[in-house]
């Protein structure tokens, strides 16, 4: 068996992983990123809208600074975030955007003079300052006080991903694509690397490393309808869950994006609304301005998704063979804007819907989009539970997003967190000596080979992997959606417990030889169901509504009892429920909990706490 050694091993080659690897390589260490697909196909590249950083170059961003960005982020999180981390992020974001410009990102730039823009369907005029000519431009996004989202057309993720991957090639970071990590090599105290499966040949391979980082993106594919790429299935998370000692943070915090297209759930960017697009109902009437007079379509995503669902429940949805939806209207932005700054949107609508958004309305509904939860780390990106293990980006719960992340903050997080955590990893590597225990390595490999053999021979049973996966997805869709109740969540947990048993009895129908896709799906299924249980059980226990987590039976945000982060462990492999523990949401409080300014809701104050 091939054994490959490196100083830093990154599971994932999207923006967060590659950014951290560049930092390690710059400090003189070897770094390898494992990736299911060629790096540039990473889901980072699908991000359209942009990256938030308080550069304040645009006239509509005047007066912006890290303090304002920080405040928006904390409010957006519904006070569920770690404020120390949000501060670190807001302060560093402008530097990282400029660094990206230096490395080659073609950011859209300020063009001085008069121009028009739209807000809530109405036309306004602005004048960009002469002295800002050629600096990085910004557009508007939801939940922000200023125009702060840096962008390249609506292909920001793609453009930044190209630049980052170029940088990796330049500084010698290796990307082993078509490689899937399937188990962690660890002894309950330290992480030593992973066992991976080559997706060119199907062979197992050992990667040994002093530091290992999870940067594998979100896990939206545990839901049936999601904007996520098919690779965002939480495979790398399952490795962490299976250690028993690495907790997942805030798994119940799941973001639904207001504008997934119907029926395929492909995302059209929030930039549509940022640039002045409106949401319409079955009568082609605007409604968000009634629910949220101040922010309207530009309230945070949790709030907009909730009102959309509410509005459809009230009977104002558009009926279709795929269920009810609403309309997104960008017609008034005009052909030049739509085929320029919203070109991906234009292509998605014409290619996948047969809808021309210059003249026609776009059918949209809220769809699973972002996982605020993930591998819980401290502010240095070090995972709880295992030495030498780190995580960054969507896969991590570094926790600048709390219970709802703002649009444009995740793409910015990838490079900002990647940079900060990459530096911390380089410091760790500097003084690090490791011994690799050969027995531990061979035991891990043997255990994985045994799992594969059992799946291929069907010795555990003959459950169909795709059917069990669908059962898990349906359970979450029914019980752990935008609106949640005790009854629904209890049923979801029970169904998932049954699904967990089925997932242990999967047998392949194909022969499992080579790059067998059925085997790949089967290897992660049990772990996925465990993650689904962490999500549903965490949501059942959290008896309040905060950000994206909405309990209809507990509509108030309860700061008295729930200003906490959920930590979910799967302590023993045979447990049928996760073990939940809690920690304070933030140890540093710069902004005490208060009203967000949108999404009116009752708040049970932390001051009500009996001493």
């Amino acid at each position: 068996m091939q054994t490959i050694y490196t100083d830093l091993l990154v599971v994932g080659a999207g923006l967060a992983g590659e950014r951290a690897a560049v930092e390690a390589a710059d400090a003189g260490f070897s770094a390898i990123c494992l990736s299911l697909v060629p790096a540039r196909r990473s889901h980072s590249s699908a991000a359209q809208g942009g990256m938030q950083a308080s550069l304040g170059n645009s006239v509509m961003g005047e007066g912006d600074c890290p303090d304002v960005h920080f405040a928006d982020t904390v409010k957006g999180s519904d006070w569920g975030c770690d404020q120390e981390v949000a501060r670190l992020f807001a302060d560093t974001a402008p530097i990282e955007m400029r660094r990206l410009a230096h490395w080659g990102v073609p950011w859209n730039r300020v063009v001085p003079g008069k121009s028009i823009y739209y807000k809530g369907g109405k036309q306004f005029e602005k004048v960009e300052a002469q002295e800002k000519e050629g600096l990085i431009m910004a557009r508007s996004f939801g939940g922000t006080a200023k125009w702060r989202t840096c962008y390249t057309s609506d292909g920001t993720g793609h453009a930044v991903m190209c630049t980052m991957d170029n940088r990796c090639a330049q500084v010698g970071v290796e990307v082993h694509d078509k490689t899937e990590a399937i188990a962690m090599i660890q002894d309950g105290e330290t992480c030593y690397g992973v066992v991976a499966r080559c997706l060119r040949t199907g062979e197992l391979r050992v990667y040994l490393s002093k530091a290992t980082m999870i940067a594998s993106g979100g896990f939206g594919r545990i839901y049936p309808n999601t904007t996520n790429a098919v690779i965002c299935d939480g495979g790398a998370h399952t490795m962490c869950v299976n250690t028993g000692v690495v907790p997942m943070g805030n798994m119940e915090a799941v973001q639904f994006h207001p504008t997934g297209i119907v029926p395929t759930d492909i995302l059209v960017t929030e930039g549509c609304r940022g640039d002045g697009g409106t949401l319409l109902d079955v009568d082609e009437k605007r409604f968000m301005d009634k629910y949220e007079p101040e922010k309207a379509e530009l309230a945070s995503r949790d709030v907009v998704s909730r009102w959309m669902t509410h509005h459809m429940r009230e009977g104002h949805g558009v009926k279709s063979p795929y269920g009810e939806h609403l309309w997104l209207d960008i017609r008034h932005l005009g052909e030049e804007h739509i085929t320029g700054k919203l070109r991906e949107v234009y292509e998605i609508c014409t290619s996948f819907l047969g809808v021309n958004p210059i003249h026609q309305l776009i059918p949209v509904r809220p769809t699973q989009h972002y996982s605020m939860g993930g591998v819980r780390t401290n502010k240095d990106g070090a995972a709880y539970g295992l030495k030498g293990l780190y995580a960054a980006g969507e896969s991590a719960c570094w926790d600048m997003h709390g219970f709802n992340r703002l649009g444009g903050n995740s793409l910015a997080e990838t490079v900002v967190a990647g940079g900060i955590i990459g530096k911390k990893i380089a410091e760790y590597l500097e003084g690090c000596e490791t011994e690799f225990k050969t027995a531990l390595i061979s035991d891990t490999v043997k255990a994985q080979q045994a799992r594969i053999d059992a799946l291929v021979s069907g010795s555990n049973g003959s459950e169909n992997v795709y059917k069990v996966r669908a059962a898990m997805q349906d359970a979450l869709n029914k019980g752990a959606n935008i609106f949640r109740t005790e009854e629904g969540l209890k049923e979801c947990v029970t169904t998932l417990q049954d699904t967990l048993i089925r997932s242990k009895n999967v047998g392949l129908r194909s022969n499992g030889r080579g790059v067998n896709p059925e085997l790949a799906a089967a290897l992660k299924l049990e772990g996925q169901v465990k993650m689904a249980l962490m999500l549903a059980y965490g949501a059942l226990m959290r008896t309040e509504s905060r950000g994206s987590h909405n309990r209809e039976d507990y509509p108030a945000r309860n700061d008295r009892d729930w200003l906490t982060r959920t930590l979910a462990y799967w302590k023993k492999p045979d447990d049928d429920l996760p073990t939940l523990e809690y920690e304070p949401a933030t140890s540093v409080v710069e902004i005490p909990p208060g009203d967000r300014g949108y999404g009116k809701s009752e708040i049970i104050s932390a001051d009500d706490k009996k001493e």
Binding site: A46, A101, T201, F352, N516
Partner: protein, 245 residues
């Protein structure tokens, strides 16, 4: 009752000694808004779980799912079955190494291309975290992005006659990459430097100008203009080099 679609799909698993390259037929009932992404997943989940194919974003953004669809390279995710006849033949992209069935290894090909073209900004300027960003004209930024929209699906290479004839040809994707850096004011490489990379038959002078690359590019990149632009530029550079000798 909707159409019954007949799929003829190329099958071969190089990792399985018993596998022989052949075409296999699958029949599937067409549903509303069906794309090849939906169809292939249904075939895999309901009929043959060993079927190999690549999808990632399934939204026409990442370029994973290039394949030959009824004779023409294209992205399977945004190919709607209603635009195809009842009989659909799917083959893996040529040129790239076959992984199995419809899956090919584009990653290695493109990685080699980055190395050859040194696909990064060449500059001796240091980044200063305390300074404002260097200014750039918005028109220039937009022009660079226009070329950077390539998703590396490999369709242009698969459709290229020169690439079929010579393994070392950079293809439109490679040449487009060079053009992207050539017009970037941040890159300090000269025409002469670029000539070293593409001023030969592996590069711009190997192109026969048949322009299938532009015809099939799923992102509608202006590949034809780039080839013309580079050929003119390299032609002039070539003459200058000749007279300097």
């Amino acid at each position: 009752m909707s159409r019954l679609l007949k799929f003829n799909i190329f099958r071969y698993n190089p990792q399985d000694e018993q596998s022989e390259p052949h075409m296999q037929e699958f029949v599937l009932e067409e549903t509303d808004s069906m794309t090849l992404f939906i169809a292939l997943n249904r075939i895999r989940e309901e009929q043959d779980p060993s079927l190999q194919f690549d999808f990632c974003c399934r939204a026409g953004i990442c370029g994973s799912c290039g394949m030959v669809i009824n004779g023409r390279p294209g992205l399977a995710c945004h190919t709607k079955t209603r635009d195809l006849p009842g009989e659909i033949t799917l083959l893996p992209l040529p040129i790239f190494k076959l992984v199995g069935d419809l899956s090919v290894d584009t990653g290695s090909w493109f990685r080699e291309m980055y190395t050859k073209t040194e696909s990064w900004i060449h500059t001796d300027k240091e980044f200063d975290p305390n300074a404002l960003e260097e200014r750039m004209d918005n028109k220039e930024a937009v022009a660079i992005y226009e070329l950077e929209r390539c998703v590396e699906c490999g369709c242009c290479v698969a459709a290229c006659a020169t690439a079929r004839l010579r393994e070392d040809f950079m293809g439109a994707a490679g040449l487009n990459r060079v053009a992207r850096f050539l017009i970037d004011p941040r890159d300090q490489r000269t025409d002469n430097d670029y000539y070293e990379i593409i001023g030969n038959d592996m590069g711009i002078f190997g192109c026969m100008g048949l322009l299938a690359c532009e015809d099939i590019c799923p992102k509608h990149l202006p590949l034809q203009n780039q080839l013309g632009f580079l050929r003119r530029k390299m032609g002039i550079t070539s003459l200058k080099r000749l007279f300097k000798k």
